[in-house]
Symmetry: C2
Subunit: 205 residues, 2 copies
């Protein structure tokens, strides 16, 4: 019997949307539990990691978004064919994490106005371009990370980080990175992902 999946998070895309993309792409049933911060404070002691996102698989909890994404990626064959495919996917996800951590530090790191400006400038001129250059190296001309030419957890999850770039650095010129633009298109125009994007709850981030 297939396990029962419950995704536990806030009512946001945030760190959970990559997991929801996997469920959308595979058509796997799951419970998409979205808590308010107040509700979360009441239930968090029931969850071993006291952090979200967490995936409940039958009675076992997996915390940490990338751990959840890799676990489901294996279950649903979304990690390419070879160990080197999986490594390149992992590298791309690691680069995306570095961008995401940078934005989180910029928005929620307790920086003053001047420091926030400096951090945004550093993201725009250093961190994001360095990572996107790697994506341009790793991606095929048609925007895939592996020779399977199918969406893997790599494209699904890094595409969301590219959306963070568009959200947090609205004047960043993404067109200089054509393979990355194609990757993003491959994800959001996939019929199953597009259907999910259309029906998902509208949230700020």
């Amino acid at each position: 019997m297939a396990p029962k999946y419950e995704l536990i998070y806030f009512n946001a895309r945030g760190r959970a949307e990559g997991v929801r993309y996997i469920f959308a792409l595979t058509g796997q049933d799951y419970t998409d539990s979205r808590y308010t911060n107040e509700e979360w404070q009441k239930i968090k002691n029931d969850i071993p990691s006291k952090q979200v996102p967490a995936l409940k698989v039958d009675n076992q909890y997996i915390p940490q978004s990338n751990a959840i994404i890799r676990y489901l990626g294996k279950k649903f064959n979304l990690i390419g064919k070879t160990d080197m495919d999986a490594a390149i996917i992992d590298s791309a996800m690691g680069c995306a994490d570095d961008i995401a951590s940078g934005f989180i530090a910029m928005k929620f790191g307790g920086l003053n106005e001047e420091q926030t400006k400096a951090k945004a400038e550093k993201m725009k001129t250093e961190i994001v371009p360095k990572m996107l250059e790697y994506f341009e190296h790793a991606l095929s001309a048609d925007g895939f990370l592996t020779s399977t030419k199918a969406l893997t957890i790599g494209e699904l999850s890094t595409s969301l980080t590219i959306e963070w770039v568009q959200l947090f650095l609205p004047d960043f010129d993404l067109s200089k990175y054509p393979k990355t633009v194609k990757m993003l298109k491959n994800v959001v125009e996939n019929p199953k992902i597009a259907a999910w994007i259309k029906k998902r709850p509208v949230t700020e981030h």
Copy 2:
């Protein structure tokens, strides 16, 4: 024929030591290339990701420490037995990353003195305890992440983050987390790891 491995990094433990632990534990030959910052500036354009650590496997580069660690973990059977084992290992590594990112923001995030103090306090009272509580949940009484009771990439790499806690929060009381202390002991007292620690170059961090 076994592939040729070269690890490319600075003369530091930093983000590369988990990879070196894997090579030490398995006895796999590799080239441990350690560059000065000046040398690195000269060669970095030859490396697709323009970032270190990178592992060169024959002629292919894998950037991002955790991608390297997972790739070698698979090659050398250091990821437990089941997909859930691998997920728990990934979760622990994700938690360790959150601690590491916090310390990096604290030391190199351009914070002023007051902000650095506030960040250290937050690390000490919130971030680190939350993660260590999860480790105490995930680890067995004898300090292993999986039922194989053998070192995996999870113990190897998170033990190094625990050492960062000792380095950056020297008055943090780790004894409240006995399973974590055992995990650290399991790693550093493993004869092969201990031999490596004894012979490795002495570096500040």
